[in-house]
């Protein structure tokens, strides 16, 4: 069908143009990170006259990148891990227990998702300040609280495809509830756990506001926080700022390229539910 071929070609061209347009911000950021201050001033759109690496080394040091990367990693992995495990336990218990109380508790968990962070940020800072939890331990606990509602909802949904017969078979074999959960149910929850993991990693890794309120100690600070401070210090010194921004997004881009398919699948499921 000639007409169809023509249409597809047109679509392919439009797609290509849009794709290029979509990438332009990245191009501009990277290209100008390699220029000197003067280089950006004279030519902002083109490739650098001389490729400078100095911006990157300076940004890397000022962002304390190794430490802030480690902080972001630690907080993200721990928080997400706790969310997955504890929300799965809760989702399992709530879905297997069909009583009225169970339904009420489930509804409560879901309803709490509505509360926006700005409505509770002042009390959180005040209360946790008083008990000395404005640190990495505190923040992981906070992420658990903030993230588990959505996770419980997703696990509860996924539980409907896991037959009760499995629970019963395990019980007959003498397993207690914990063994049943850990050895049989939790492995079967792997797909939804991946979805939950991805959604939370994206959110927590990039989160700025909560860390800015909780992590006062520079040694505990995460990448977004350091980026904010760095940018504030070097405003208008675009060559440095852009180098810093490039460094900051490299882990995200690398991670994305590796697990792209899973990410898109996870986001798709999470949003449609």
């Amino acid at each position: 069908m000639k007409r169809k071929r023509k249409q597809l070609n047109l679509l392919a061209i439009i797609g290509l143009l849009l794709g290029l347009v979509w990438l332009v911000p990245f191009y501009l950021m990277i290209v100008n990170a390699f220029k000197t201050k003067k280089g950006i001033f004279t030519n902002v759109l083109g490739l650098p006259e001389e490729w400078t690496f100095g911006n990157f080394s300076q940004a890397f040091i000022e962002l304390d990148f190794i430490r802030s990367f480690f902080n972001s990693l630690l907080i993200t992995v721990l928080s997400t891990g706790f969310i997955i495990v504890f929300a799965s336990m809760a989702g399992y218990a709530l879905s297997r227990n069909k009583s009225k109380l169970s339904s009420i508790i489930f509804f409560l968990c879901i309803a709490l998702m509505i509360i926006p962070f700005q409505s509770i940020m002042i009390p959180i800072v005040t209360i946790y300040g008083k008990i000395n939890m404005l640190n990495q331990v505190g923040i992981v606990f906070m992420y658990l609280g903030l993230g588990c509602s959505m996770a419980i909802f997703l696990v509860h949904g996924a539980m409907s495809s896991i037959s009760v017969a499995l629970d019963e078979a395990a019980e007959i074999d003498g397993a207690n509830k914990f063994q049943t959960f850990w050895h049989i149910i939790f492995p079967l929850l792997r797909p939804i756990s991946v979805t939950i993991g991805i959604l939370n990693v994206i959110w927590i890794w990039n989160d700025f506001l909560l860390p800015s309120l909780v992590l006062g100690n520079p040694n505990q600070q995460t990448i977004p926080l350091k980026m904010f401070l760095f940018f504030g210090q070097y405003t208008k010194q675009w060559h440095l700022a852009l180098a810093g921004l490039t460094i900051a997004i490299i882990p995200v881009i690398i991670g994305y390229l590796f697990v792209q398919k899973h990410i898109i699948k996870g986001v798709s499921e999470g949003a449609v539910k």
Binding site: G15, F86, P116, Q118, I127, W205, A241, A248
Partner: protein, 286 residues
Amino acid sequence: MRNRDLSFWIFLAPVLIALTAVLIIPFFYGVIHSFTDWNGLTVSEFIGLQNYIDLFRDAEFKASMWFTMKIAFVSIITINFFGLGLALIVTSKIRTSNLLRTIFFMPNLIGGLILGFIWQFIFVSVFKDIGLALGIDALTGFLSTPKTGFWGLIILNTWQWAGYIMIIYIAYLQNIPEDLMEAADIDGANSFKKFQNITFPLLAPAFTVSLFLTLSHSFKIYDQNLALTNGGPYNSTKMVAMDIYNTAFMENQVSYGQSKGVIFFIVVAAIALLQAYYNKKQEVDV
């Protein structure tokens, strides 16, 4: 069948503790304190609805509310327009669709703060140079006026979220049965007619999902606002979340800031309830 024995509660304990300590207690603590003259450290008296009365007269707060609504409303249109458009391209049979899908979704993975800084560079520096070179005045001084600040936020918001909404539309588009399309082909329908009579109606739930996602997300914008314009010039592009933050932490009006936070909750909850209502309604219709 689980009964309400110890194991049930042990399985629930971690999340119940976390939800209580991080959401429930702070929420009620905040609500109660919004009725006092709390300054973050001490409370000396109960002031009733005074904060809320002040809030309704607060021109800046109202301005930020209004600005936020404008951003949300326009974003809904742009994000959904691009989201659907990109989805249609990606689900067509062109060979580059996987690559394009990867590209369009990429901005969504990067934090709002970093995106805000990248676009600040583009609007302030790149636009200026292009504007000077081509003699287009409108491009120089971008972000230095309320109007350009507004559109800057819209462009950023769209670039960040169109890919995410695209994923949703793709999921729904892929659920449209092939035979429906083939039957239409046999009946001689062209692409436009097919879209109009099959695709569009079947995407109705996708519209609803995307509408509410975009709405609630746009309402809560903070990082991008901070990084792109910092509310400037002169607080003209300050969104609600930033207003709350500034009131509480920079102007040190803690209980007043908290009352704004409570109002913010009410608005966001109203949106969520509307969404739940619409979902229920659609389920019945289909």
